[in-house]
Symmetry: C2
Subunit: 200 residues, 2 copies
DNA sequence: TGAATAACTGAACAAGCGTTCAGATCAAAG
DNA sequence: CTTTGATCTGAACGCTTGTTCAGTTATTCA
């Protein structure tokens, strides 16, 4: 069964989702046709509309699911320890989570402008909520003297930009393992927030 | 005169360039039609082909010009001082140059996948050459003991990602001046590369 | 086996795409 | 005033787009 009769609001068929994710990431939303997606699934274009209301909903579903998973995954992991440990946990979590889903991350960052205004507002709010997780850690840590930050908001955006950047170059089986990348970036993040030298 | 008879290789008409730059940045290359660009210029679609060979060349020209200007601007500014001064100069230059041309930067980062393989190779090589400027500074500085870097290549990519990220949130007339942003980011970069505490 | 419903096809729709080109229009030069 | 060449129009080209839908096939359940 593709859907409950008369409703498209539930989860889009996994094969359709996977095909759209991969194609949107590779060629961009606007450059991919419904017929290409259908071809990847092994079906005619018309059949896609049993799984999704339209092309826009397909994009929105992908981005919404990604952001929901991101927030849920962090909430499931967010530690209670000292400020430095929290920041380290966030750093490692962000790198790992993003490296595990390069296509979804790519789409979530590059296709924002192809969302309708309503859909954009939803995704933007989720992105903001995620940023706030890090900003909270940095604010509390700065207040407690664990970090030295001239501007908490800018530090938040700078750290996220730096960490997300890993996705642009990391390739599985490359020179460095994901563990080693985490390690190296954690050291750079620690320095950027003025958290003192590396403990021996 | 739009062009020398029989050749499209020279500089694309400025009005066409500007219209394409703005539209590509706002909606994406694939989502913008030649008719939209023509409408912005105040001309019929056919007239665009007096200024550009085809849509792909229009995109390539924009990206190529941007990268050429980026490299030329750095070469015109690159200082000779100590390693820390060089890194500071690069940091400030990168932020300033990118904040001055947000549309071109956006296109150069987002539309790489819409280039033909040949055109992509050209742009990619220029991007690599720019990265090498920073990597040289970091390598020399690390060797001289001015920086503490576990991995020079990763530090290069991390710093560039962090700095380019400014473009995603900076708006003229906002909370912070470009000068102040440079200042704050320079402190974070200094910390990330292990260049010691802020001098009083 | 037969009935019901899910899953899908294949053709059609109007609209828009990049690109070409014969001809109109315009500006400058002789 | 005529000629020349740049500049641009407007229509046309073949093709692709997202989306719909009547009709066919496959699967499930009694």
């Amino acid at each position: 069964m593709a859907r409950k009769t008369g409703s498209h609001s539930e989860i889009t068929g996994p094969k359709v989702r996977d095909a759209a994710l991969s194609l949107f990431a590779r060629h961009g939303f606007a450059a991919v046709s419904m017929r290409q997606i259908a071809g990847e699934v092994g079906v005619q274009a018309g059949a896609l509309y049993l799984y999704t209301k339209d092309k826009q909903s397909l994009l929105f579903d992908l981005m919404k699911t990604h952001m929901d998973e991101l927030l849920a995954a962090w909430d499931a992991v967010a530690p209670m320890g000292d400020h430095l440990a929290q920041l380290e946990a966030f750093t490692r979590f962000h790198i790992r989570f993003h490296l595990d889903r390069p296509d979804a991350v790519f789409i979530a960052y590059m296709e924002l402008r192809n969302l309708t205004p309503d859909n954009f507002a939803v995704i933007e709010a989720l992105r903001r909520r995620y940023e706030d997780k890090l900003e909270g850690i940095l604010r509390d840590g700065a207040q407690a003297g664990a970090f030295t930050l001239p501007d908490t908001k800018l530090a938040t955006l700078a750290v996220i930009a730096m960490l997300t950047g890993v996705n642009t170059w990391y390739r599985e089986g490359g020179r460095l393992s994901a563990d080693r990348v985490e390690e190296i970036y954690w050291n750079m993040v620690r320095g950027a927030v003025g958290a003192g030298p590396i403990p021996s």
